[in-house]
């Protein structure tokens, strides 16, 4: 991560702040110290992109030391991290030498009916090569201070070169600055899906072989998308997707100097080659394709990343747009709306046998110690999962037995099963699932409630690859309002899992949670061992089970270390 220049902006904003109208209160103050950071990762996509030729202008390779002097670094601001289509993903926590900072989560982007109501806000950044687009993008991200920002670079969408074209490229004779060099069709598809909140795959372009790597990078969960590229405004369809168009207008002499510096000292290329390429392609392309598009821009930013007034204006506008799109849904209103309604058909409550009731009695009892709590909740989970699996579709088969007869039985038909747990408490069910389903793949979603807004927020996500065909067993230990479950289901749908292939499993659910999930997602199968009537003002299930995660992991107060005098307890 490059930080030096971005910190300087923050400093300036601090100075300017009193003069500006207040930004979103949720974001501005509380988050400025605990650093915002979003995270998205899937298995196998940790591929570093970006090799020789690209436009990644950052503060470090800008030529103008004198400009930097005007804005001293402020080391107090911690570095910001984010997902981009071009760099490695980062861990969900940010560790400084003093403390661990928890990252901000993503508030709901869908309404009570489960449909996406917030399209991502897409900012298009256009400008000539080495004009400082990436610097501007980084500074916008820094100043926006909202979680889940995705930076999408046009460089990822270069076309795969044929053998002849590769040879041209090696001799600096391939035109990388012409519209034909980009795969606009793919770019538009990807950007459109991303804007709709879907999970997308971005190709990883290898500049040494001029081809796409096998592993594409998965990007998901954008509230704001920043799309940058030299020809960002060169396609009509593309323009329709951009909510805001910013043209970075840097003097061509400065751009050439930056380019020379970057290609020669950073990438070890010879000066003749660079100048040849510049004169033959870069300059004409700029004049023919890039410069004219300044007309469609909403804002033109002269001097690129050092133009703080322009950046602040952009940020303000984005904030006001995000505020307009915000649609808080009142969960208690939802609860009363369903009161007294019959429970949905998609709900299946396990038969309340004496053993099930006996186990409930133990785990609901506040006097139960952790050892017993863990043991009996695990037993109950095992039964719940066995029960849930009986809803999977089976097909009749005939098998030959060692007794020499044919036996008419049944086997699972179709696709594989994937488990997804909602952290923290849902993780406790993974073991029971693995004990019943061999070799099952497991994904995790961390959703936490924001205590200021009462909203669930998405913090972390790690799903197995290609889950769109799978049956997904979504696990959470308890469901009270259903807010976390709704978000998790929305995430799965955004990854193209079919709604009727999602099974929501929970040890205990409140009627309210059942209703809100069934209302939003009528095809999701809801499976539990018991449904309690009520939810109290703190959204705890009544009579309930207490905080399942705290009791299971022992993070509830007070310590019970004196309780166990015997045995191997720790």
């Amino acid at each position: 991560m490059r930080l030096s220049s971005s910190s300087s902006l923050a400093h300036v904003i601090d100075d300017v702040a009193p003069l500006l109208p207040m930004r979103d209160e949720n974001m501005a103050v509380s988050v400025s110290q605990a650093d915002v950071h979003m995270h998205q990762k899937e298995d196998g996509d940790e591929v570093e992109q970006r090799a020789s030729r690209s436009d990644s202008g950052s503060g470090e390779d800008s030529l103008d030391g004198l400009l930097r002097r005007a804005c001293p670094l402020t080391p107090s601001m911690s570095p910001r991290k984010r997902t981009t289509s071009q760099s490695k993903t980062e861990p969900p926590l940010l560790r400084t030498n003093k403390r661990t900072i928890y990252t901000a989560g993503r508030p709901p982007w869908y309404n009570v009916t489960g449909t996406t109501f917030k399209e991502a806000f897409v900012i298009g950044l256009c400008g000539g090569s080495a004009s400082g687009k990436t610097t501007v993008a980084n500074k916008i991200i820094e100043a926006l201070d909202v979680p889940w920002v995705v930076l999408l670079s046009m460089d990822s969408f270069y076309k795969v070169l044929s053998k002849e074209e590769q040879e041209l490229a090696a001799r600096n004779e391939y035109n990388f600055d012409h519209p034909d060099a980009f795969d606009f069709e793919l770019l538009i598809t990807v950007l459109r899906k991303l804007k709709k909140g879907k999970s997308i795959k971005v190709p990883v372009y290898d500049f040494t072989t001029h081809s796409r790597r096998k592993e594409w990078k998965t990007v998901y969960g954008a509230n704001v998308v920043i799309f940058e590229g030299i020809l960002a405004f060169a396609n009509k369809e593309l323009l329709k997707l951009l909510d805001m168009k910013v043209f970075v207008d840097t003097d061509s002499d400065i751009r050439l100097v930056r380019r020379l510096k970057r290609d020669i000292s950073d990438r070890g290329r010879d000066i003749t080659g660079v100048i040849k390429q510049y004169n033959k392609f870069v300059k004409p392309a700029f004049e023919q394709y890039i410069e004219p598009t300044v007309q469609v821009a909403d804002i033109v930013v002269p001097r690129g990343g050092e133009n703080f007034v322009a950046l602040e204006l952009i940020v303000q506008h984005v904030h006001s747009q995000l505020e307009k799109r915000k649609l808080r849904w009142d969960i208690s209103a939802l609860a009363s709306a369903h009161q007294g309604q019959p429970l949905p058909k998609t709900l299946s409550v396990m038969e309340s046998t004496p053993q099930v009731r006996g186990m409930h009695t133990i785990i609901r009892n506040r006097e139960t110690n952790r050892d017993e709590f863990i043991f009996y909740s695990k037993r109950l989970m095992r039964l719940l999962i066995e029960h849930a699996l009986s809803f999977l579709p089976l097909k009749p088969v005939s098998v030959e037995t060692p007794q020499g007869t044919i036996y008419e039985g049944k086997r699972l038909s179709g696709k594989r099963i994937t488990g997804v747990s909602i952290l923290r408490a849902g993780e406790t069910m993974e073991q029971a699932l693995m004990a019943v389903c061999k070799d099952i793949r497991l994904g995790k979603i961390l959703i936490q409630t924001n205590h200021d807004t009462g909203e669930p927020e998405l913090h972390y996500l790690r799903l197995p690859k290609d889950i769109s065909e799978d049956y997904v067993i979504l696990m959470d230990s308890t469901v009270s309002t259903g807010a976390a479950a709704l978000m998790a289901i929305r995430v799965l749908l955004d990854h193209d899992v079919e709604e009727d292939k999602i099974f929501l499993l929970s040890l205990l659910m409140a009627e309210m949670g059942v209703h809100s999930v069934a209302y939003a997602f009528p095809k999701v199968r809801i499976i539990t061992t018991a449904v309690d009537k009520k939810v109290n003002d703190e959204f705890h299930i009544i009579p309930g089970i207490g905080n399942f995660g705290d009791r299971y992991f022992g993070t509830d107060a007070p310590s019970d270390w004196y309780e166990s005098e015997e045995g191997m307890d720790y």
């Binding site: 038969e351 046998t353 004496p354 053993q355 009731r357 006996g358 409930h360 009695t361 133990i362 609901r364 009892n365 506040r366 006097e367 043991f375 037993r379 095992r382 039964l383 066995e386 029960h387 699996l389 009986s390 809803f391 999977l392 089976l394 088969v397 098998v399 030959e400 037995t401 060692p402 007794q403 007869t405 036996y407 008419e408 039985g409 049944k410 086997r411 699972l412 019943v436 061999k438 109290n536 705890h540 299930i541 009544i542 009579p543 309930g544 089970i545 207490g546 905080n547 009791r551």
Partner: protein, 268 residues
């Protein structure tokens, strides 16, 4: 419901016609829907569903002991487990994995047959919850060798339960089951017994084991037999001999997977 099961019921009826009265009860019950048979419960079971109440009252009218055969609800998952266990192409690893899953389900259902009392507890939210508490004084008994496969399943549900063992082998000459060894907790006479034996083929081993238990003072009505597969003949022999014991199984089928013990322990 599956066809092979209906087939065995008809077989049942035929074989039962010449049998004493309580076996005719089996036949009568069998002729009804499978669900009726499935619902047949322990006399002191909860009897919450109307069908089993009906069954009990019918039994009362006939003044016969109630029929104590209980089948696990036949879910698709159980069908799949049965299929994998019976399939001769199944690897031993998969076989053991599926057998353990099925055993666990049978054990859980067996534990449901044990006596309990109502009780009320307070939840962490300070609310009352009306629950149940199971009584103490139970005991597992496995019939060696294949019954031992079910011990771990019981242990996984009841961590500190006492487990007795009986070794029974078939005499090669007389083809009769013979008891070689038995070791029980000293107070077994006052305990409820979960007797474990996965495959009821002829039922002879179980009949011998129950005899040993009765010799130790155990009441037949306190015995719950946990098994995975049985033949109609096996069930009938046991019911004929000991009408009071409860038999739990997942499938009654004319062909029993007699390879179970060999394949589970890898001695085939």
């Amino acid at each position: 419901m599956n066809n092979c099961f209906i087939g065995t019921l008809e077989l049942d009826v035929v074989t039962c016609n010449s049998m004493p009265c309580h076996n005719q009860q089996v036949a009568r019950g069998s002729r009804c829907e499978q669900s009726t048979l499935k619902q047949v419960r322990f006399a002191n079971g909860d009897g919450s569903d109307s069908e089993s109440v009906e069954k009990q009252s019918e039994a009362a009218v006939n003044s016969d002991p109630p029929i104590q055969l209980k089948l696990l609800p036949l879910t698709d998952q159980i069908r799949e487990l049965q299929t994998i266990i019976r399939d001769k192409t199944t690897s031993r690893g998969d076989f053991v994995f599926c057998a353990d899953r099925l055993i666990r389900l049978v054990v859980e259902e067996g534990l449901n047959q044990l006596p309990y009392t109502e009780c009320t507890v307070t939840t962490p939210t300070g609310q009352k919850y009306e629950g149940v508490k199971f009584k103490r004084g139970n005991c597992g008994v496995s019939i060696m060798r294949s019954g031992e496969a079910m011990e771990q399943g019981l242990r996984d549900c009841c961590r500190s339960i006492r487990i007795g063992k009986i070794l029974i082998q078939t005499d090669e000459e007389t083809l009769k089951a013979k008891v070689y060894y038995a070791k029980f907790p000293p107070d077994i006479y006052r305990r409820k017994i979960l007797l474990m034996y996965p495959i009821l083929s002829s039922g002879n081993a179980v009949i011998e084991a129950v005899r040993v238990l009765i010799d130790h003072g155990v009441q037949p009505s306190h015995i719950i037999l946990l098994s995975l597969f049985s033949t109609p003949h096996g069930v009938n022999s046991i019911v004929e001999e000991f009408p009071e014991i409860t038999i739990l199984t997942t499938e009654v089928h004319s062909v029993a997977p007699t390879h179970f013990g060999q394949k589970y322990f890898g001695t085939d």
